[in-house]
Symmetry: C2
Subunit: 362 residues, 2 copies
């Protein structure tokens, strides 16, 4: 994986400035890069609070001097010991969408933890449906029973934005989710829980919206740090904003089929794909774009099929003829988060090696 | 990841016995498990030659006392230094399907390497098409020019077997590929290259065939060590032969939608799926099956959608009602090879932790 540091930092700066101008906290989701080194790139822009996707990753970033960490999946009660260890040393935020988990945490947490009630605004994955104010207020009331639980706010992930067909649909999803969160927040205020924070976060809406108004108090985009073809297709970014590529050597050619085989398959790109003009696309080939130090997609050259170690690239005859065995092709990933999971290291355009978090059994 | 060691060893024993009774070499592909510890499970059955899918993995197994290693993708000439390092210490086998790569290796290899010409028997990925005997013999002739290149044989991966619709289709693919390899072998014998070995290997045909006849001299199955839902659907294995599962805790429930959310998504299962009865299936839930120590799929309970950390399980009302937050569900993976890439460790049913190879930038 090759990461363009300058471009990445520019995007971090831009997102931080946007949050600041709206008066909301910028809590970037670090699961996309999950690298302590890349985490450091956020600090100059005032970032001190982060989101992660596992307790192991929270510990990794706590070990790298992050002190305000949200584990952004419903709390896994089987990791109660690890949660207790973490909450001794950092301001720990957890997500809850059930009475069972809330009561379990209340009984077992030995130091204070910030609790967020996850709200489902239509994605139908996790969270209490926004309309279920009865259940939401019941969970909120239970928090009060426990000394170490502090109700911080309500939180949602408007994941339907990943299936939007247009920018206006992304904006509509954003407005509808904010409106639902506002209703829930007001309901809880009237039920005796005033001043709750409201956290939202998905890269499409955070990228497309220029301003975040009340009641939003926090945004948690993650993928924007790299972007990828899925975000490009959604309209969240331009092609020259994608800052991570996978470098794959050419190991075989079949010019009679207009095909080039790279050493780079599911093991280095992941098997994520999208369908365009009835073709599956597992990656798009990019080339350096002059002096800008950026990569640019090459017209009509894409990874058309994939097995574990091989990627089959289809392209125009001229492209296939010009490519030589041993050349390195840069592949823009379909879904950067999934690609990052398959690697231990990044290399910057300047040649610096950057390590990343490696999960292990808890 | 939980691996059933006893069952895995039984399958290794069975495949080794089948190879022995046919008089062919058993060169298991270690990319599926890529673990030095699991590699040791093969030695009692006389296995001393292995296949791997990268030069880094070859080095890992060389460091764990394997001395006969085939890197089973077309040689990547950019790794010539690593290939030279390896060939000093082990009997190294490389694949070639172009004159360019052959000549490059010939000029740069500083110690002997076994060369296999990869033949395409219809999969249309890598390899010289079997009908292109002109190109095949030209590559074979070039091997003679170089002191350190030793032509060992011809090799194929009949990957079309992964798309077979029935057992009889798998057998047909096997017979057709063997027939093509026989033609190529005889052609090369008549062109002055007698006694070339013939290596075949894909889990579907190696599982389904009871015997491997001449000219086959070597089989290279890999996935059989675990098997998975894709192999089950193909008919390569029975459901009680799948020996690897992913243990995922329940973190949320939506009984009104008959859904259970596990903490286990693309980051631990991979995003591989298949379609059954118009539903995408990303995994199937299994339960312990009495005293056999085996897991058994639970009827109609499957992972219906997936994001990076969440898996959404759909099941009958009774199943959903009985499951509790904090329970651990065992998920049978769709494609074990891709799942393994996402983990650093296995745990055996007896609780032993087993490490695996972790790739890094070369």
């Amino acid at each position: 994986m090759i990461v363009d540091k300058r471009l990445t930092v520019r995007k971090i700066e831009h997102m931080a400035a946007k949050a600041k101008s709206s008066g909301v906290k910028f809590r970037p989701h670090f699961k996309t890069h999950h690298s302590a080194e890349i985490g450091e790139w956020f600090r100059p822009f005032g970032v001190s609070s982060i989101a992660v996707s596992s307790v192991g990753m929270a510990k990794y970033f706590a070990d790298h001097n992050w002190n305000d960490i949200m584990v952004c999946v419903p709390a896994n009660i089987r990791e109660i010991d690890e949660l207790n260890d973490l909450s001794k040393n950092v301001t720990l935020h957890v997500l809850v969408d059930s009475l069972e988990t809330m009561n379990f945490l209340g009984e077992k947490m030995r130091s204070p933890v910030k609790v967020w009630i996850e709200i489902d605004v239509g994605y139908r994955r996790t969270g209490v449906p926004a309309a279920r104010t009865d259940k939401i207020s019941k969970i909120a009331e239970h928090v009060r029973k426990y000394r170490n639980l502090q109700l911080a706010g309500i939180l949602t992930h408007a994941g339907t934005s990943y299936h939007a067909k247009s920018l206006s649909e992304i904006r509509k999803i954003y407005r509808e989710s904010v409106s639902q969160m506002k209703t829930v927040q007001e309901f809880l205020a009237s039920a005796g829980f005033p001043d709750l924070e409201v956290s939202v976060g998905d890269t499409p809406t955070c990228s497309v919206m220029k301003k975040f108004e009340a009641p939003i108090s926090e945004i948690r985009p993650g993928n924007f740090v790299f972007y990828d073809l899925a975000q490009l297709n959604l309209g969240s970014c331009r092609e020259d904003e994608i800052s991570m590529t996978v470098a794959c050597p050419v190991v075989s050619k079949a010019p009679e089929r207009n095909e080039v085989i790279i050493y780079g398959g599911g093991a280095s790109l992941s098997k994520e794909f999208y369908t365009a003009k009835r073709h599956n696309v597992y990656g798009v080939i990019a080339q350096p774009d002059g002096e800008k130090g950026r990569t640019k997609p090459v017209k009509d050259v894409y990874v058309a099929s994939i097995s574990q170690e091989h990627g089959k690239i289809i392209g125009p005859k001229k492209f296939v003829n010009d490519v030589k065995i041993g050349d390195v092709l840069m592949v823009l990933p379909v879904h950067a988060c999934q690609t990052v999971l398959l690697h231990k290291e990044y290399q910057t355009c300047e040649g610096e090696i950057i390590n990343s978090y490696q999960p292990s059994i808890c």
